[in-house]
């Protein structure tokens, strides 16, 4: 019989524990190593899925990996990916935000209408829209932290409220890009990097990921967001001001939605109150496929970015392969269920 000594050394070596140690080492077979790896790095599984997706779709249709297609895919991802940054923050606190899209559209319509009909300069209109988005986020945050209502119910309510306000305010009318100041559609301007075409909106989205990613992984605030999502009572007892952290998350999410609204104007070339109807579900899909746990405290924005790209890669890849669009829905649905199952599995990890 061979005794492997790889892995962690036995805990303060009681001789009687030898058989147990051996058993423990034996149990850590390939599947368990995968479980541990995914547990330590939740973004690994979406990364693997994205790579496989790209390889398979390129084999089906080589046009998939041409610079033009990739540029289009990235541009199409930008809006949902930006919204999903805010969604990630809220889901990390074990909450959920159904009002993402509605809040962003309200902010966008305020920007567009003040920039065009009310003749405000671009910067002022943009700022006003951002303020509206922040107020929307703060309203959600106040209802969750002060009235202690479940985030699902709060944002289900504000989803309708924000949508209704938008429709009443605009009368359902769209505003074309030509009527707006240049600054508002700046996010649609493109730069050519070799054969790739990148919009300012995409760059802004990347910046958003860098800033929020940094805040989550490198600052005390980020630590506290994870701790509050993990176990709010433990976080409170450890000395974290949990309501303050929770409220700040909703406010930051509001800022993110305001920026996403700006990116949306550039992407759509117009501001329409009926744009991105399924943004809430699409952003949740990106977060979940990206490996962030719906139970809070686990995950991050890197996974979310990968998740958003996976959904868009499926959409483009399947249409390039000549497959009916309904299959995209089917594939994304299966991915979501698979992602949540993997999350449940890796949560059971024990050393």
């Amino acid at each position: 019989m061979t005794v492997t000594t790889e892995g962690s050394p036995a805990t303060n070596g009681a001789p009687a524990g030898r058989a147990a140690t051996e058993l423990a080492e034996r149990r850590r077979r390939p599947l368990q190593r995968v479980q541990h790896l995914l547990h330590a790095h939740p973004a690994v599984s979406p990364a693997i899925i994205l790579v496989i997706t790209c390889v398979v779709f390129t084999m089906l249709n080589p046009r998939f990996s041409e610079p033009g297609t990739v540029s289009l895919m990235v541009q199409q991802t930008a809006v949902v990916a930006a919204l999903a940054v805010g969604q990630t923050l809220i889901i990390l606190t074990a909450g959920i935000d159904l009002s993402v899209g509605a809040a962003a559209i309200l902010a966008m319509m305020v920007m567009a209408s003040y920039g065009s009909e009310h003749g405000l300069p671009g910067g002022a209109a943009l700022l006003l829209g951002l303020v509206v988005a922040i107020v929307a986020g703060a309203l959600n945050g106040a209802l969750v932290t002060r009235l202690k209502l479940p985030p699902f119910i709060v944002t289900l309510g504000t989803l309708s409220v924000f949508t209704a306000i938008t429709l009443i305010y605009t009368g359902g009318q769209s505003i074309q890009q030509i009527a707006m100041p240049d600054l508002l559609s700046w996010t649609g301007d493109t730069h050519a990097i070799g054969d790739f075409r990148v919009t300012n909106g995409v760059l802004l989205c990347v910046l958003l990921y860098l800033v929020v990613g940094f805040a989550l992984s490198q600052t005390a605030w980020g630590r506290h967001v994870y701790a509050v999502g993990d176990d709010p009572e433990a976080a409170r007892l450890a000395g974290i001001r949990t309501t303050r952290v929770l409220f700040s998350v909703y406010v930051v999410a509001g800022v993110v939605y305001g920026i996403a609204a700006w990116i949306l104007i550039g992407r759509a070339g117009a501001a329409s109150p009926n744009a991105i109807g399924d943004a809430n579900l699409e952003s949740i899909t990106a977060v979940v496929i990206g490996g962030t746990s719906l139970f809070g405290g686990r995950g991050g924005v890197v996974g979310t970015l990968l998740g958003a790209l996976i959904v868009q890669a499926f959409a483009l890849g399947l249409s390039l392969a000549g497959v009916d669009d309904q299959y995209r829905l089917l594939a994304v649905g299966i991915l979501v269920v698979a992602a949540v199952s993997v999350d449940q599995w890796i949560r059971k990890v024990r050393a």
């Binding site: 490198q218 600052t219 005390a220 994870y226 433990a234 007892l237 000395g239």
Partner: protein, 261 residues
């Protein structure tokens, strides 16, 4: 009813006449308590005797309705756990109050993270992860905890005893004056319990005042210097392992024996 006595100003922590009610339920009914430096004071009592309420008022998790708490002779009032912490009282809750998904170092420094020196810390507010990891390692090894090695491991992958050790190490690393431990051995096996009791003794050797809440009489009689017996929201008496046997302690706890001196 006799009024509460004067504060013992040599005590690191002293409470007089603590009262706490929850609606019509009386949690504490005028409790006094004194804790000296370098002393392990055990608090025992039946379920509902007010043990948890007592330590929660001492650690800022509950605000007492009446009564006074002093530290080193100075009156203090705690509105939340953070206040007690700042005054030098660290608590190891029965639930441990750790964030399972965060690693050991992050848990040790939870809510008192240290930033990097220079603009990275002051402007970008960047955490000094490496430094915190090293200092966490040091505080763990200072306590002689050998079962926890890698500070980058998530707490949820640790055993019950290891988690307890992490929580105790956190309290010891920051506990300026007093460490309160709520049922630290309740969920542990024999070997792990022995390790935690050794930790309690090492806290005493460092000159800290230790309050130990426990249901486990052998553990209490093994490490405690004095034993505060809580019964029906009041202090039924303070005994010591030398003056009374475990049987006496249980009898006082249940009211079968009364300590009217």
């Amino acid at each position: 009813m006799s009024e509460s006595s004067e504060h013992d100003d040599t005590a690191v922590l002293s409470a007089r006449g603590l009262v706490k009610t929850f609606g019509r339920v009386i949690g504490l009914d005028g409790v006094d308590l004194d804790l000296q430096r370098g002393e392990v004071l055990a608090v025992i009592g039946d379920n509902g005797a007010g043990k948890s309420t007592l330590i929660k008022t001492l650690t800022g998790a509950l605000v007492p309705d009446a009564g006074e708490i002093r530290m080193d002779g100075h009156p203090v009032s705690f509105k939340r756990p953070q206040d007690a912490r700042e005054a030098g009282i660290e608590t190891v809750y029965q639930t441990l109050a750790v964030a399972p998904a965060l690693d050991i170092a992050s848990n040790l420094y939870l809510a008192r993270e240290e930033r990097r020196p220079g603009p990275l810390g002051s402007v970008l507010r960047m955490l000094d992860k490496k430094g915190m990891r090293e200092r966490a390692q040091k505080s763990v090894s200072d306590l002689g905890i050998s079962t926890v090695q890698n500070m980058a491991v998530a707490v949820e992958s640790l055993s019950g005893g290891q988690r307890q050790a992490v929580a105790v190490a956190r309290a010891a690393a920051f506990g300026g004056k007093v460490v309160v431990l709520d049922e630290p051995t309740a969920a542990l096996g024999v070997k792990e319990s022995a390790q935690v009791l050794r930790l309690v003794e090492s806290l005493r050797e460092r000159g800290l005042g230790v309050i130990l809440i426990s249901h486990n009489m052998p553990h209490v009689w093994q490490v405690a210097d004095r034993i505060h017996v809580q019964r029906l929201g009041r202090c039924a008496g303070v005994i010591s392992p030398e003056s009374h046997s475990m049987t006496d302690g249980v009898a006082i706890m249940t009211g079968a024996l009364s300590l009217d001196a």
